[in-house]
């Protein structure tokens, strides 16, 4: 044991890539057997199906299929399971773009521009952009894992409650003032989200909040049910009003859509790079894929030349969240492997799998189970390539779904949504809740209140609250804890800056208007 540890030390300090490359090649040799390749294809296909069905979700999908892998060798098993995970990540984008129903929390931000693109008849373009960006994000994250795993994993340890809160604060701040309406509507919508997110058990005191004695509310409002209702059902209601048809149905089917879109993509390299950085960082810390996708979208809107068009079907609005979500989803496996902390619910289920195969996740995995770890990392490269090929060949097929008449597809979507909502807790109550959220989504759209801040607050509100209260408990109530070290101070500073940006631009505009007004008079 001590020998092995010494061997690994130079990698931690020096970061010489030679050892990684040889280990990786060995990993490819392990992963590239026909049996494992077949498992990869099956995994990706199952994953895409799981990702498409809202409510089932990657974590549930992996959990259901986990027992099937117990008879396989651990490396083959993890290859298949992680491919299900990649597949689910890819699949989540499909329903988001086509029907405005995000299958996974991190696909929500993809709907903002993806669905308007589909409505304009550019579904194939949006899908290609989403899949390609996902691939790029995942690839960058895997490269990061390959060469920097032990080093980067240490960074995650720096994250205490104050740092977590700062990250969530930054995510919220990047959203204020980016809605179509006034910042006040954004804040109102966000506050409602916080209120809904607060229902259920208060983890800090162990007592129930706002359940009013109803057992159904014990676990609070599940994010997935809210999202399926707000987006999916809300969208159907809106379409019904506007005359029972999909606005994207006149789309021409272009079989070279993939190539045409690929020609456009290099133009958005800056967004891509920014999103990769956000994604990897959020995956490792572990903030997770959902805040990563939201933050990336928020920042892309702010820094893009076409920022004003975001929400109306801007391709950059698809690239940003998808790249970040995948970079985060992939790099979330890093803290799991290196430290034994799951960065996502799916990673948590995979973690359970590791134990059954007799592997102890944690800092010693890289030393004690080299074959397994490098086999897994190699399968991340291969799995993503396989995944990209599988989903890209299906782009025309997916886009063609929109040509089915609305009167046929709407009931199908409704049923799928209901099944999705039901699966979350196996309870009929959730289906009614979903319908309620659907009506709410419709009203929000009609009144011009933005939905994204509401959803963001439901997903991240309780986590932000947890971090805030944990930090204050530790500091004996002193708010200075949020500026107590350079790391947390930087993140908080960035957050405050982003929060104040709308105010600055408002002043600037007012001055400019004032000047032109005085010049005219």
């Amino acid at each position: 044991m001590p020998k092995a540890r010494d061997k690994c030390r130079p990698r931690i300090i020096g970061g010489m890539p030679v050892e990684e490359i040889s280990s990786l090649m060995q990993g490819f040799a392990i992963a590239l057997t026909p049996y494992n390749l077949m498992l990869m294809f099956i995994g990706i296909l199952l994953g895409v199906i799981i990702g498409v069905l809202p409510g089932l979700g990657g974590a549930n999908g992996v959990a259901i299929l986990l027992p099937l892998t117990f008879t396989m060798p651990p490396t083959s098993a993890i290859i298949m399971l992680s491919c299900i995970y990649w597949g689910a990540l890819f699949g989540g984008a499909i329903t988001s773009i086509l029907f405005n129903i995000p299958g996974e929390p991190w696909s929500v931000a993809t709907t903002f521009d993806g669905h308007p693109m589909a409505q304009k008849g550019r579904a194939d373009e949006a899908l290609t952009a989403a899949f390609t960006s996902s691939f790029v994000g995942a690839l960058v994250a895997v490269i990061l894992i390959t060469f920097l795993a032990p080093l980067v994993a240490k960074f995650a340890l720096k994250f205490g409650p104050a740092e977590f809160f700062a990250v969530f604060f930054l995510t919220f701040a990047s959203f204020i003032g980016m809605g179509k309406g006034t910042p006040f509507k954004v804040i109102a919508s966000m506050c409602l989200g916080f209120a809904l997110g607060a229902v259920g058990l208060d983890k800090m005191t162990g007592t129930l909040r706002m359940t009013f004695g109803h057992e159904e509310l014990l676990s609070g409002f599940d994010f997935l049910i809210a999202v399926i209702g707000l987006f999916g059902i809300g969208e159907i209601l809106l379409s019904m009003e506007s005359g029972l048809k999909f606005s994207g149905s006149h789309a021409k089917l272009q079989f070279n859509a993939v190539l045409l879109t690929w020609k456009k993509l290099p133009r958005y390299w800056a967004t891509s790079v920014r999103s990769c950085i956000i994604g990897c960082w959020m995956g490792i810390t572990p903030g997770g894929a959902t805040p990563a996708s939201f933050m990336s979208y928020g920042l892309a809107k702010r820094f893009s030349k076409n920022g004003a068009n975001f929400g109306k079907g801007e391709i950059e609005g698809v690239i940003a969240p998808e790249t970040a979500a995948h970079a985060a989803g992939t790099s979330a496996l890093l803290p799991m492997l290196a430290l034994g902390i799951p960065g996502s619910p799916t990673a948590a289920v995979l973690l359970g799998g590791l134990m059954i195969w007799g592997l102890q996740p944690g800092p010693m995995l890289f030393v004690e189970q080299k074959d397994f770890v490098w086999g897994l990392i190699a399968s991340m490269y291969l799995g993503n390539i396989v995944g990209l090929i599988v989903v890209l060949t299906c782009v025309p097929l997916f886009a063609a779904i929109l040509r089915v008449p609305f009167s046929i597809i709407a009931p199908v979507i409704l049923v799928i949504c209901a099944i999705g909502a039901f699966t979350v807790h196996n309870s009929m109550f959730d289906v009614w809740l979903m319908m309620m959220f659907g009506v709410m989504g419709y009203l929000f759209q009609k009144l011009g209140y933005p939905l994204p801040p509401l959803v963001l607050a439901i997903v991240l509100g309780d986590k932000a609250e947890e971090g805030f209260r944990q930090a204050l408990l530790g500091s004996q109530g002193s708010i200075a804890v949020f500026w107590s070290n350079p790391l947390v101070a930087t993140i908080m500073g960035l957050g405050v800056l982003l929060l104040l940006m709308p105010v600055f631009s408002w002043f600037k505009e007012r001055n400019a208007v004032g000047k032109t007004a005085s010049a005219n008079s």
Binding site: L68, F70, L201, G340
Partner: protein, 385 residues
Amino acid sequence: MSCHLLVASIVSHYRSSEPTTTDKSHVRKGLKRATAAEGKVGSMKMHPVVSRAFAIAAAAAVTSAMTLTTASAQAWEPAKPVTFVIPAGTGGGADQMARFIQGVITKNNLMKQPMIVVNKAGGAGAEGFLEVKKGNADPHTIIITLSNLFTTPLATGVPFSWKDMTPVAMLALDQFVLWVNSESPHKTAKEFITAIKDGADKTSKMGGTGSKQEDQIITVAMERVTAPKKMTYVPYAGGGAVATQLVGKHVDSTVNNPIEAVSQWKAGALRPLCIFDDKRSTYTEKVTKDQAWSDIPTCKESGVDVQYQMLRGIFMSPGVKPEQVAYYVDLFKKVMATPEWKKFMEDGAFNQTFMVGDDFKKWVETNAKTHYDLMKEANFLAPGQ
């Protein structure tokens, strides 16, 4: 493993939710649900027409089911997939154990029907326990417990208790160990306690899982020793996160279960100070270079007279038949005989006590009382408890 097999299993998973005529429990559930729906006007569970149809089908099925029962009264076996409820989230100790058991059963073909693991973590586990409580003699649902069996009803006031369920077996007792960061100056529990006593009040941060649950109960019990000084308890979502927070020095100590912290101990990031049991662990194989679980002194011998262990046990719905309980007792005996289980026990340094029947019931009864007293003393009881 072929694609065919995968698909078949998924299909069987979904098919399991359809009622079949040979399926007693479903029928019974159907009947009950039907009557409930008709009794309560406006009940959202079932449409009256549907419920009537259900009732007719159910009545027909009951007769056929009855004849079946008399035929095979002795050895009961599950007739459909068994649901294994975890009243906690993914990744925690109970979740790991339940998924592990599912794995062992599947791998060794110990049960003809598949086992489906579901997390029902809502309301500190109340969601899962309430479901089993309402299961009404459903022999196809079992639940694994952690201390929230006792603590959740007391802290939240959600109406359930262990008496609402049928105790099946105690699988093991999970240990608690006092951990500090390996860079901490404290080498023994005594030094650690002395430092708290000498320091300013509430400056020592104890990280733990959840609020008003086992970790905080232990913290409160430790505060009897550190009195008049107190610690600051910081609740986190799960045991893995707690261990990581200690490695990152965001808290000063934890009372993690062995399985949650063992990897960090092996890597030299954490140091165990004492174990909250009345005797040392029996596992003598070295975990780190020079230490085994058995080398960790008990807290009592280090001058911190606190003992606490957590039940990892199995319960079923109320009103199940003795032969149904017997089936699961037998099943878990088979699980425990596997080498995988033995390794799992050793990795997690579990206290291997197996109990069934009246012994187990008695144990639970005593512990329910202990928890009540501890929580009352700590002022953790919800109003009306």
